[in-house]
């Protein structure tokens, strides 16, 4: 799977970087694929409600009513019809890209299996809804879609007599078929919506609306397309004729030529195998993940910061079980925890200044604890030398951090930048472990663990607990959001930062490594 993921990820990372040249970070379309999918879904819904007013079910009435929309009322219902079609195409496009991107980022295994698996029926329902919509127009394309769909279904041994016989000749088709199809076309998207609700159950604050600027741009582009290239029918269906040449909507109907030409056993087996593989991919192979976060009740005062910062709803606050006088305690659901460490970064007890007692935060990762990070900081601080010593705290998901290590550059890897309590920056600077600190993470708005980057920014800016203390000289701190393809840029940024630090001169502080701190001081940092 890794062989498939790596080139795909490179393509997505490169696309993201190219689009970042023109889009602000939070508008980047590559980073808003899911939200764009929702946006297109709503356009499809609103435009669908409007054109349903004019739609008539019946063998002849269906085509005539759609023609009226397109030609008789081109300025309103015609535009709405085009928006309906193009937004549904856009929905499929962003949905498929969303699937591929999550696959390329390896965000479908481990505890993320739930979002992946629940996304598969949504995909299917959206396809069924779209295909049934093409059927309703009852033009030549609809005739093709109806016949190929029913012939394909007839390969299954469930039906008493071939459904495709309904389309044998003009006098075999009944209007009630259209009533059934309009019911499907309305019911199936609603079922898809329920599927989407399920799909988002395990993520905190899901981004279901794109930023206003991106929504305006995407909506306008579809509107302009609808005005310039209105969706048109392809001539009334005529069962006495084969729709010999048709303009297929390749987003929805790309597989239809294969369904039509390959044997039913082959297409059904392939479809079933594809579905089974898609459903089983999260376990092919299973993710070797770190152990989930654990709560140390002796150090947890129930402050709720870890619960508020967890991107995956893995932490809940429950009644205190140790009878200490706090309102609650954090409880981790191991089946939801991805071991990003953001909770440890948010915990007020995760301070490296603690020397009197063992550094055990209220919540921590057993496989990458805060104490180990401090030990690594101390070791790197002792190793680096030179006029401008730099300590880099970097997210391992970028894969570029270790390359930055040099004689004057110490590197400390984190599961996510959100795992870093801001007090570590103070610890490095005030203890003269380095002359400056670099925080390097995923590219802007593209945090692998969803909120690590946002929370880090907010903590550094003093907008979110725990804050970076005011005494830390901000000129000795720099943050670099450039992701997996940003290795060169990161090294360049470090070199430039070293130049700035050299101008600032050495720190005038004393090392506190090994110095004991009293509990009050510890709690305040």
């Amino acid at each position: 799977m890794g062989l498939l993921r790596r080139p795909l990820r490179t393509v997505f990372d490169a696309s993201e970087r190219i689009l970042a040249l023109t889009f602000p970070a939070n508008w980047n379309p590559i980073l808003n694929l899911g939200a764009l999918g929702f946006f297109f879904y709503w356009i499809v819904t609103v435009s669908g409600i409007y054109i349903y007013i004019f739609f008539d079910t019946g063998v002849t009435q269906a085509f005539a009513s759609v023609e009226y929309m397109t030609k008789g009322q081109w300025y309103a219902a015609g535009i709405m019809r085009s928006m309906h079609r193009y937004a549904s195409d856009g929905l499929v496009a962003v949905m498929l890209l969303h699937v591929l991107r999550e696959f390329s980022l390896d965000r479908y295994r481990g505890v993320r299996w739930f979002s992946w698996v629940t996304g598969i029926p949504v995909l299917l329902f959206i396809y069924i809804a779209g295909i049934s919509g093409y059927w309703l127009v009852w033009d030549k394309l609809a005739q093709y879609v109806a016949i190929v769909s029913t012939e394909w279904l007839d390969h299954l041994p469930f039906f008493g007599q071939p459904i495709a016989r309904n389309f044998l000749s003009p006098d075999t088709l009944e209007s009630r078929f259209f009533t059934l199809m309009i019911f499907m076309h309305i019911a199936v998207p609603l079922i898809a919506l329920i599927g989407l609700w399920l799909h988002l159950q395990r993520v905190t604050k899901p981004r279901i609306n794109p930023p206003m600027g991106l929504a305006i741009g995407a909506g306008l582009s579809l509107l302009v397309l609808s005005a310039m290239l209105p969706a048109r029918s392809q001539g009334a269906a005529n069962l006495a004729q084969v729709p010999g040449s048709i303009g297929l909507d390749w987003f929805y109907l790309g597989a239809y030529p294969l369904l039509e030409t390959l044997p039913g056993q082959v297409t059904w087996s392939t479809a079933m195998a594809f579905l089974i593989i898609m459903g089983g991919i999260p376990w092919l192979p299973p993710m070797k993940r770190q152990r989930p976060a654990v709560v140390d009740l002796a150090n947890c005062n129930g402050c709720t910061r870890c619960r508020n910062d967890c991107p995956y709803n893995a932490i809940s606050m429950q009644a205190r079980s140790d009878h200490r006088p706090f309102e609650g305690e954090a409880v981790v659901d191991p089946s939801l925890c991805v071991a990003c460490g953001i909770c440890a970064g948010s915990c007020p007890t995760s301070t490296p200044f603690r020397r009197m007692s063992e550094l055990t935060p209220g919540i921590d990762l057993p496989d990458h604890p805060i104490a180990a990070i401090r030990a690594e900081v101390d070791a790197e601080g002792a190793r680096i030398t030179g006029a401008a010593r730099i300590m880099v705290f970097g997210c391992i998901n970028t894969g570029i951090i270790v390359d930055s290590r040099a004689a004057n550059v110490g590197v400390v890897s984190l599961n996510c930048t959100g795992q870093l309590p801001p007090s570590f920056i103070d610890y490095v600077i005030s203890g003269s472990l380095a002359d400056g600190v670099v925080i390097a993470g995923c590219s802007d708005n593209s945090c692998y663990n969803r909120f690590g980057l946002s929370w880090t920014k907010d903590r550094l800016a003093g907008l979110r607990d725990p804050h970076l203390r005011g005494r830390v000289p901000r000129e000795r701190l720099t943050v670099v959001w450039m992701g997996r393809l940003g290795g060169t840029a990161l090294r360049r940024e470090i070199a430039m930062f070293a130049g700035r630090l050299a101008v600032l001169g050495p720190l005038k502080t004393k090392s506190h490594v090994g110095r004991a701190m009293d509990p009050v001081e510890s709690a305040n940092v």
Partner: protein, 167 residues
């Protein structure tokens, strides 16, 4: 604020996005059948004759049956398979023996077949056997058709309407 270059870049992206959506929504065209070809579609549901005639039970046979199962005659459920033959210009296009559906073989036999043939004049002959005879056919219809390009000629079968129906 962004510079006009950034706005132009975004406009270019949206233009490419719209072009891709609009383009692949109906292009490239797909040719289902060649331009000089027509289609013959043969489909019907039809039940063949019963495998055996009803057998009138003798009083001796009736007496051996439980009282709730006594009825004057015993009829088999199974049906004959349907033998179908479709010929075009004297050449067989489709020949098959269609089994009756159902676990007991008592349902209708079904078929749904499509054939692409060159457009133009053809003599189409359809034959069907649904009785217990072992040779020959019970129904036979022929049609001299001038099939236009992309014409769909449907051949149905309804015994109650006299046999084959060319539509």
């Amino acid at each position: 604020m962004f510079s006009w270059v950034r706005y132009a870049g975004q406009a270019l992206f949206y233009a490419i996005f719209a072009a891709a959506i609009g383009g692949f929504a109906s292009w490239p065209a797909y040719h289902q059948v060649p331009e000089n070809a027509a289609q013959i579609k043969l489909s019907f549901n039809h039940g063949g004759a019963r495998l055996e005639d009803c057998h009138k039970l003798t009083s001796e046979e009736l007496s051996k049956l439980p009282t709730n199962k006594r009825k004057p005659s015993n009829c088999s459920r199974e049906r004959q398979p349907i033998v179908i033959q479709l010929m075009i210009d004297g050449t067989p296009l489709y020949e098959a023996i269609l089994k009756p559906s159902g676990l007991s073989g008592d349902g209708q036999a079904q078929t749904y077949k499509k054939f692409i043939v060159p457009a133009g004049k053809h003599v189409i002959l359809a034959r069907l056997r649904d009785s217990r005879r072992t040779e020959g056919f019970d129904y036979e219809s022929s049609l001299e058709a001038d099939l236009a390009a992309w014409q769909n000629l449907a051949i149905d079968f309804k015994a109650e309407q006299g046999g084959f129906l060319f539509r």
